[in-house]
């Protein structure tokens, strides 16, 4: 979530779903909210009923478009042009919320004179190092004051954590700024120049959105912003699953800052998360590069030597990250208990180090190379949902052992005997050495615990029934596995076991299955005082001297006293839902809500009031918990040399940033530039209409055998394919294809194509078609519909093919796996793969069976051998996609 994290400070939706009801306009883009978040969508419908204008920009006319006021079809992968067009529109027409922009964002800050923009460098920013294929962000720093700490020439390689790199702002008052926004070196002017190319004409050319339609949207959205009005945005995978996904979100964030829509009721950016607790699994992460609460994971050689080095990289002098030592030490105390002492650096040395790319794509590539011995798959189905699933299934066969814990025996557990590779003779069961252990898992109704939903709301759920048979919960499995490992390591004094031996692992067990107490886990997450183990009341209680433990500082306050599990609160007191569960941090529902008041502390307008300064009580009050130090007056000016939160003035709402400002300009934290800029997807039907640089230079296409790319453009694969979900199924389908009541609703894999493409290829509605890419071949039924429109892009007719990705080779309904066509690639900041745009070909008829399917695919790639086609594509080894 660095898109939001770098811009605002925290990687989470800035608002709550019910707050959408207060919006005057909602732009849903890169999300099919009605289909994938139908329950949350009720608030959009409510807003619509109250007169808000709903705008949906999406390659397809989906169930969301059906109930929107405006739908604009755009070419998949062109979002930055569209959003950049909006930014340009705002600036050109002076639609920005000037007072907000000047006070609350870094628009007035002057940037280093060494900075050179994409305009000058044909799509690259200054600092590009072609050798290392990454940026040195030296020149992106604030001029004169905000020195980027780069003693050792740090390169950014991004990540989920708080901005890696440190912006030291010794004295904010001395920071060079121009509140008239006229200085040519100020962020605002750079922004203006940067986006000047993103004209309505360019939007029409690159996105295929007619100029008039674009202007209508721009007018509608901007006129719903200002002191009296607010507009919100909702996005999900249509923005994230791109090789420049983080920058798409950045563009949106910049736009919302310009329009003054952050921290205000009915405004904000609603990042729609996926699985029930996906937000939770970045907060308390399943990601490889962060620790709970977005603390960066130690990286070998960079920050890993000792805590002092770690702090020197990550501790900001000003803002909330000044307290990183308190959060880190409390976390280490939670891990290692008594064993963590000041003398041994609180056990910092026992933490594992990041030694390379351990992301999903990274380890599957390693797995293919035989570098990974074993794998636990718990609640995932990479054989279907992973990028280039064909590649991933083959990679699984290289493992020595594989543990799959799931509710059903899914494709990832059965690939060794019934995957298409077996049928096509690519893999032979007898030759697969992988030992597969399938363990039954308890479903969420069979265990208690909590989910953190899309709006950062942590909700407790009770156990309804005991799990059947041998099925056990994840806590049970992980706890008892850990217990046994610790037992084995107890008498083994090799250094590698020191951490394991030091680990506290002492939850009380309950129930007939001896499940660890999850309430105790939640208490540990909340934090305790040592040595008497009383619960802390919030993260401000945490200390760096080892007298507190805390499993995740941002969740602190969730269990403030025995018996007070606030995740289990069930009495909402107000419209924002206070009293119903707990929203991190500190139950704030709308983040940065200090911005809902003017610099002087009074609401921008009566209609849009949320949090304000009460002059009588001398504190911030309002409809939400203030996301601000409650007693810090609006006119507070920090004394010289102040540190942490005390160093932020009373009119600085973005308290996690060292300067307290919303970052239109991101001086640190991003691997691909301080401002967003449009790059074409790794496979694109056109050349980049804006710059010579075709694709995101920092993105990693991971081109290799089995993961080849098409050229951009490529006659063999003329169509743009995009993938998505249907309400009727869930992700890899393991949970929906197995249920008759869901399976019957969408029984066959299908693709959606325009009437024009259907006519071109002689396809009738309901026919079978075969779709191929550089990586795979699948068949699907064709839904011929006006809901997909062919577009005019860069002087060319572009046809898009929409493919839901829910089918696999098991379950009540089966079908080919869409992800066999997708490429493994990595966005440079979060390493997500580009699943929303690839190039494909589509022909009428079913694909060949067995081995011949591969021949059919090869023929598509290489052409009939005899025809003497010179193999393009992979031979050009990674040049074509650049």
């Amino acid at each position: 979530m660095p898109g939001l994290g770098t811009t605002f400070g925290r990687g989470g939706a800035t608002t709550a779903l019910p707050d959408l009801m207060n919006a005057d306009a909602i732009l849903i883009m890169g999300s099919n909210m009605a289909e994938n978040h139908p329950v949350g969508f009720q608030w959009v419908m409510e807003a619509k009923e109250r007169g808000a204008r709903i705008i949906h920009v999406d390659p397809r006319f989906s169930r969301t478009s059906a109930v929107s006021d405006i739908w604009a079809p755009l070419r998949a992968g062109s979002d930055i042009v569209f959003l950049g067009g909006l930014v340009n529109f705002v600036i050109e027409n002076s639609k920005e919320f000037r007072e907000y922009v000047v006070n609350y964002t870094n628009a007035p800050i002057i940037i280093s004179e060494d900075f050179e923009d994409t305009d000058d460098l044909d799509g690259l920013f200054s600092g590009w190092d072609p050798e290392r294929r990454s940026y040195n962000p030296q020149t992106w720093a604030y001029a004169h004051c905000g020195t980027f700490d780069s003693a050792e020439q740090e390169y950014v390689d991004g990540g989920h954590a708080k901005e890696s790199g440190r912006l030291t702002v010794p004295d904010l008052t001395s920071c060079e700024r121009d509140d008239t926004l006229q200085h040519p070196g100020c962020v605002y002017q750079i922004l203006k120049r940067h986006f000047a190319r993103y004209t309505p004409e360019m939007v029409e050319t690159a996105c295929g959105v007619p100029r008039k339609l674009f202007l209508k949207i721009a007018e509608t959205f901007c006129s719903a912003s200002g002191p009296e009005k607010t507009a919100a945005m909702c996005y999900a995978l249509g923005w994230t699953q791109h090789s420049d996904g983080v920058q798409i979100i950045r563009t949106a964030a910049i736009l919302q800052l310009l329009l003054g829509n952050i921290g205000r009721p009915g405004g904000g950016i609603m990042a729609l998360r996926g699985h029930a607790s996906i937000q939770g699994s970045t907060d308390i992460p399943t990601l490889y590069d962060i620790l709970p609460g977005y603390l960066p994971m130690p990286k070998l050689g960079v920050n890993s030597k000792d805590l002092a080095t770690y702090y020197s990289k990550h501790q900001d002098k000003t803002g909330l990250w000044w307290n990183i030592d308190k959060y880190m030490v409390s976390l280490l105390k939670a891990y290692y208990g008594e064993s963590a002492t000041k003398e041994n650096d609180w056990g910092y040395g026992w933490l594992p180090r990041v030694t390379g790319d351990h992301s999903h794509q990274g380890y599957f590539l390693d797995m293919m190379d035989g570098k990974v011995e074993g794998l636990f798959v718990m609640g995932q189905n990479p054989a279907v949902a992973g990028p280039n699933s064909r590649f991933e299934r083959k990679a699984l066969s290289k493992l020595k052992w594989l543990v799959v814990r799931d509710l059903v025996e899914l494709e990832s557990a059965s690939f060794w005997y019934d995957s298409p590779e077996i049928g096509r003779g690519e893999l032979r069961t007898e030759e697969i050495g992988t030992e597969v252990f399938f363990l039954p898992a308890a479903g969420h109704a069979e265990k208690e615990g909590c989910f953190t939903n899309t709006q950062r709301l942590i909700q407790w759920h009770q156990k309804a029934v005991d799990p059947p048979g041998d099925a056990r919960s994840e806590p049970w499995f992980v706890y008892h596995l850990g217990r046994r490992l610790k037992q084995r390591a107890r008498d083994d004094s090799r250094p590698r076991n020191a951490g394991l031996n030091a680990l506290t692992w002492d939850y009380s067990l309950e129930g007939k299955n001896h499940d660890p107490s999850v309430e105790e886990v939640l208490q540990e997450i909340n934090g305790r005082f040592l040595p008497d183990c009383t619960l802390v009341s919030g993260y401000s209680d945490l200390k760096a001297d080892g007298s507190t433990v805390c499993g995740c500082w941002i969740y602190s306050g969730i269990f403030p006293a025995p018996g007070q599990n606030r995740a289990n609160d069930r009495k909402a007191r107000d419209f924002y839902g206070h009293g119903w569960a707990f929203s991190w941090p500190s139950d704030r529902r709308v983040l940065y809500n200090r911005a809902s008041a003017r610099p002087d502390g009074q609401p921008w307008s009566e209609r849009k009031k949320l949090v304000w300064w009460d002059d009588v009580q001398k504190k911030w009050t309002g409809l939400d918990v203030p996301d601000f130090t409650a007693t810090k007056p609006p006119d507070y000016t920090p004394p010289k040399g102040a540190e942490g939160d005390a160093a932020l003035a009373g009119n600085r709402p973005f308290i996690l940033h060292p300067d307290g400002l919303g970052w239109i300009w991101a001086p640190v934290g991003l691997a691909d530039g301080p401002l967003p800029t449009h790059y074409e997807p790794l496979e694109s039907p056109v050349r980049n209409p804006l710059y010579g640089q075709q694709t995101n230079p920092a993105a990693m296409p991971e081109q290799r055998p089995g993961n080849q790319y098409a050229n951009s453009p490529d006659d063999r694969f003329p169509y743009v394919m995009t993938t998505y979900r249907l309400t009727e199924h869930h992700t890899s389908g393991a949970m929906s294809r197995t249920l008759s009541h869901l399976a019957e609703l969408q029984p066959d894999p299908f693709c959606e194509i325009s009437r024009e493409l259907a006519a071109e290829r002689g396809i009738r509605n309901g026919d079978w078609v075969t779709i191929t890419s550089m990586r795979g071949i699948i068949e699907a039924r064709a839904l011929v519909t006006s809901r997909i429109q062919s577009l005019d892009v860069c002087g060319k007719r572009v046809h898009q093919v929409g493919v839901p990705y829910h089918w696999g080779y098991r379950g009540l309904v089966k079908g080919d796996i869409a992800n066999d066509l997708i490429a493994i690639s990595e966005e440079p900041n979060v390493r997500i793969s580009e699943k929303k745009v690839i190039l494909c070909n589509l022909v009428a008829g079913r694909r060949a069976r067995g081995k011949e399917a591969l021949e059919q695919m090869e023929a598509q790639i290489w052409g009939p051998r005899t025809a003497g086609h010179s193999p393009v594509g992979s031979a050009s080894e990674g040049k074509s996609w650049r």
């Binding site: 009437r755 024009e756 006519a759 002689g762 009738r764 062919s790």
Partner: protein, 340 residues
């Protein structure tokens, strides 16, 4: 329609014309070759799906319609036989009635699946449900015929008694009365449904079914040896009526009647009508003196009448499948009464 319906309609017509002419539409592409042309709202239904549910009845039901009809009219003939003093006729017809009644119940039960289910019908007496009335009628008819047969046989065996005779008269009268209902209620059963072809022909189906029953009863009688003028006459009348009905269906040319003229149901209807109508009639007229021809005529009529039962059920199925049949009727009615 939000936009001016006229304009949209014109536009659609233009597109339709173009599509019909060229097989595809150029600008932006509305319709690929071979896909359905856009239709105006009034012609449209939901994806062309049926609105109504087709009858669920199994093959036994039309057979029952036939058997019940023959049995019912036979009971009438038994009564007439008694009045005219034709004892042999009475005996034969009572037997036909008895056998018909005895076959009917199992046929219905076969459709229901379980014997006990037939009894559910006798929980309530609900005259406004033709099905309920039918169930009671069949029960009453079977009982009456059974009683009549018993009395008749006892009397024949010499157990003559005033009372027994009175009972026989009563039972025969009851059997004739319920027999007539048995032979006609099935037509009401179809006519009083939502299925367009049935509902629209609710005044015709009774004539169809009763003619079939009448002619078939006479034909059965002929097979039982009664090659008498009465059966010949009835045969002539029945076949003539069949012809009239068939002509009516053909010339009325109503949309709702299409299943009676088109498709499998249509050909079944025609086959039935031809067998029971002209074929049977001509055999009777030109084979006046030939016993063989008469048997043939009887057989053709029975076959024709039986086929007609299946044809009407098949037509009901086809009619339920066609949403336009329903819409057209209701639009017509609605325009005259301005409903909703």
């Amino acid at each position: 329609m939000a936009a001016d319906p006229q304009i949209t309609e014109e536009r659609l017509n233009a597109i339709r014309d173009e599509a019909a002419r060229t097989g595809k539409v150029q600008h932006g592409g509305i319709v690929p070759a071979d896909s359905p042309f856009p239709k105006s709202a009034l012609e449209m239904s939901y994806h062309g799906n049926p609105v109504l549910k087709p009858p669920t009845w199994t093959w036994q039901v039309p057979l029952y319609f036939f058997v019940g009809g023959v049995a019912g009219v036979s009971a009438l003939m038994a009564l007439v036989g008694h009045v005219t003093g034709n004892s042999a006729l009475v005996r034969a017809e009572l037997l036909v009635g008895l056998v018909g009644g005895a076959i009917s119940a199992p046929l219905l039960i076969a459709d229901l699946g379980r014997p006990g289910r037939f009894l559910n019908m006798l929980r309530v007496f609900k005259p406004r449900s033709a099905m309920s009335l039918g169930a009671w009628t069949l029960s009453g008819f079977s009982a009456a015929v059974g009683l009549a047969v018993i009395c008749h046989e006892l009397l024949r065996a010499g157990y003559g008694h005033e009372f027994l005779l009175a009972v026989e008269w009563f039972a025969e009268f009851l059997a004739a009365f319920t027999g007539l209902i048995l032979a006609s209620y099935t037509s009401v059963l179809l006519g009083v449904t939502a299925i367009p072809v049935w509902s629209e022909n609710r005044r015709l189906i009774p004539a169809v079914f009763l003619t079939g029953a009448l002619g078939s009863a006479a034909a059965v009688l002929e097979f039982l040896g009664f090659l008498i003028p009465a059966t010949q006459l009835i045969g002539l009348v029945a076949s003539t009526t069949e012809i009239v009905i068939a002509i009516l269906i053909e010339v009325r040319d109503r949309y709702a009647d299409r299943p009676l003229r088109e498709g499998i149901a249509g050909w079944l209807t025609r086959a039935g009508a031809i067998l029971a109508g002209p074929v049977s009639l001509l055999l009777r007229i030109y084979g006046v003196h030939s016993t063989g021809a008469r048997y043939c005529a009887a057989l053709c009529f029975i076959a024709g009448a039986l086929i007609a039962r299946y044809a009407w059920i098949a037509a009901g199925r086809a009619s339920a499948r066609d949403p336009q049949a329903l819409f057209q009727i209701q639009r017509r009615d609605r325009n005259t009464t301005s409903a909703i």
